[in-house]
């Protein structure tokens, strides 16, 4: 991450959720607020052990409603803070996230998603794509969404999440699932220079300056219109931070679009069909908002067939359809929660859509 001094701290086998917690620590986050829920408990467990030793604080909040509002309070002081949860808990946080967006407060919210609706189950699912990328709560706002697909990305993207939250003064969500959360892989942990922009807006006591006010209520004539347009322009600017992984786009006859753990399975499947002589590409969005529409648009001018694969009944596919050039065929293969996709299964779907 970043350009600062980078020290390699060695290679270890680390669980995804723990890598994420390490990323938070290495990003300089010293405040965590959360409420237990499977499958993300390794995050609070790791942080409850390590934050106090680093002079930070871990608070087990009384609910996810309280968690997000504690993050909001800490963020108002210009202090890096984080919460993590899963499905039902993230639903409870939506009012607070909306207030954070409206008050332009940075903060990191992690959703190691489970499957819904309702209590659903803890099987991996991508059913929270809409909730994450459409704002999720009330009002006209967006959060920046990062979707890791490996343990290393759980770590790297967490550091990135804090940087982007500060850069845009906006909540950033990390959308993972039980697979990236629970799997173990080697992790290269770095010691990034924690660099934070100046935060003149932060509440630290009105000493030697005018008071600072952080709010989302705008009742004056035309004030809210102006505020919402300003937020919109910020969301537009976020496009400069679009991230994605692209494979074989040059000679592809079909391009798969998949994110998170599915993107990983798709990569393996693509290697399999490539070997059999079927040129297939992959676009794996890493930022789900802003969505990598540019690369999809450009590629779709050459490649007629796109195949979107998701662990849900069709959510990201809508964004792909909005991004492609006219005449592109956007196929969809969805799997509601319950079982994971195998590379063989994906390879078969690719071949059946190529004919």
């Amino acid at each position: 991450m970043g350009k600062g001094r980078i020290e390699e701290k060695g290679l270890d086998l680390v669980k995804g959720n723990e890598a994420l917690a390490m990323g938070a620590i290495d990003a300089g986050c010293r405040l965590y607020f959360g409420y237990p829920i499977t499958p993300q408990n390794d995050i609070p467990e790791y942080l409850s052990k390590h934050l106090p030793l680093l002079g930070g604080e871990f608070i087990q909040a009384e609910s996810e409603i309280a968690s997000i509002n504690m993050v909001l309070g800490a963020a108002a002081t210009g202090t890096r803070a984080m919460t993590s949860s899963s499905g039902p808990g993230i639903s409870l946080m939506q009012e607070g996230i909306s207030y954070m967006a409206g008050s332009e407060l940075p903060g990191v919210i992690v959703n190691i998603s489970r499957s819904g609706p309702g209590l659903g189950g803890i099987a991996p699912s991508q059913g929270d794509y809409f909730q994450a990328t459409r704002g999720g709560g009330h009002g006209d706002y967006r959060v920046l969404v990062l979707a890791p697909s490996s343990v290393q990305e759980m770590y790297d993207l967490t550091i990135k999440a804090f940087e982007l939250a500060d850069k845009y003064r906006n909540p950033v969500m990390i959308l993972g699932d039980a697979i990236v959360g629970q799997m173990k892989e080697p992790l290269v942990r770095r010691t990034p220079e924690v660099r934070e922009p100046p935060k003149e807006w932060a509440l630290r006591g009105a000493k030697g300056r005018e008071k600072n006010v952080l709010k989302s209520l705008y009742l004056g004539e035309g004030e809210l219109t102006q505020h919402v347009w300003k937020l919109h322009q910020k969301y537009e600017r976020m496009k400069e931070d679009v991230l994605y992984e692209a494979i074989n786009l040059q000679d592809a006859r079909l391009v798969v679009v998949a994110f998170g753990s599915v993107g990983r399975v798709a990569r393996t499947a693509i290697e399999m069909v490539q070997k059999e002589g079927y040129p297939t590409g992959l676009i794996r969005p890493i930022t789900l908002f802003p969505f990598p529409e540019e690369v999809i648009w450009e590629t779709s001018k050459r490649v007629r067939d796109f195949l979107v694969i998701e662990l849900n009944t069709g959510q990201m596919v809508e964004d792909v359809k909005l991004s492609v050039a006219e005449g592109t065929r956007v196929h969809f293969y969805g799997k509601p929660p319950g079982s994971m996709l195998t590379p063989e299964e994906v390879a078969e779907v690719i071949l059946s859509n190529m004919k």
């Binding site: 405040l31 607020f33 604080e57 608070i59 909040a61 009384e62 609910s63 409603i65 309280a66 968690s67 509002n69 504690m70 993050v71 909001l72 309070g73 800490a74 963020a75 108002a76 002081t77 202090t79 803070a81 009012e95 607070g96 207030y99 008050s103 509440l203 630290r204 006591g205 009105a206 000493k207 030697g208 008071k211 600072n212 006010v213 952080l214 709010k215 989302s216 209520l217």
Partner: protein, 250 residues
């Protein structure tokens, strides 16, 4: 009490928008005065709530964050944990604190969060037009209890100051009113004390203020003051329910 009528330094010049006879204005002044008195204007952070007092950020000349409805105690927790050397207070109505935000306030109190809460109990939801609150008195008519609050249907008015006083994390819990010069003095004392508790790192402190809402009570300012005396104080007794002498971690 002359001081009460001089604009404290911690208030801006902006005139209050409150209805005539509303006690929010007195509460604002008294809190600002305590801030001046303790010399903490430059290190205090206020947490405004959603209700008639939401414009706290316009009236107080200190750093302020607006919390979602009911969540002020959780927001204040985040502020305080991030900035232990700042003084943090919330200002919340009875709908905000005793209904939608009751979990947040009880748990902040129970954690002994070193914050101060100014709790304005006017027995109704003022801002939304006088609906029934958990603090509405039995028999009291509101827009959503048109036949009067009936305990068989709506339960009983909740006594927050007493309830919170039972929690170990609480250093100070008191109830005050503005209906007489004597009670105004007691109120001033209690609010200062609550902030002093925080300054001495004693833990959670709260002052509940019985407050007039002439508009939604359908009374004149004078009649509203009388109602506090004759109806509210008998059910919500004034006094200090808990005052810690030494920090609980000693």
């Amino acid at each position: 009490m002359k001081k009460v009528f001089k604009r404290p330094e911690s208030l801006t010049e902006k005139p209050f928008h409150f209805c005539p006879g509303c006690h929010h204005g007195i509460a604002h002044r008294m809190v600002a005065e305590a801030i001046d008195h303790l010399g903490i204007k430059e290190r205090i952070i206020g947490v405004a709530s959603v209700g008639c007092s939401v414009f706290l950020y316009d009236y107080f000349d200190v750093d302020v964050i607006e919390a979602p409805h009911g969540r002020a105690a959780a927001v204040a927790t985040g502020v305080k944990r991030a900035r232990r050397d700042n003084v943090v207070f919330t200002y919340q109505g009875d709908g905000d604190l005793a209904s939608i935000g009751i979990a947040e306030v009880v748990h902040a109190a129970n954690r002994g969060e070193n914050i101060t809460i100014i709790f304005v109990n006017n027995s109704v939801y003022g801002m939304t037009g006088g609906q029934m609150a958990p603090t509405t008195l039995l028999g009291q008519k509101t827009t959503t209890s048109p036949y009067g609050r009936d305990f068989t249907q709506d339960g009983y008015p909740i006594r927050m100051a007493e309830m919170l006083a039972t929690l170990e994390g609480v250093s100070f819990s008191a109830r005050v009113a503005f209906n007489s010069p004597k009670n105004l003095l007691q109120a001033q004392k209690a609010i200062r004390k609550a902030f002093e508790m925080q300054l001495n790192r004693m833990g959670f402190s709260i002052v509940e203020i019985l407050s007039a809402c002439p508009t939604n009570w359908g009374l004149s300012p004078l009649e509203a003051k009388k109602r506090i005396e004759e109806e509210m104080i008998p059910y919500y007794p004034l006094g200090v329910f808990k005052e810690r002498e030494i920090p609980d971690y000693l």
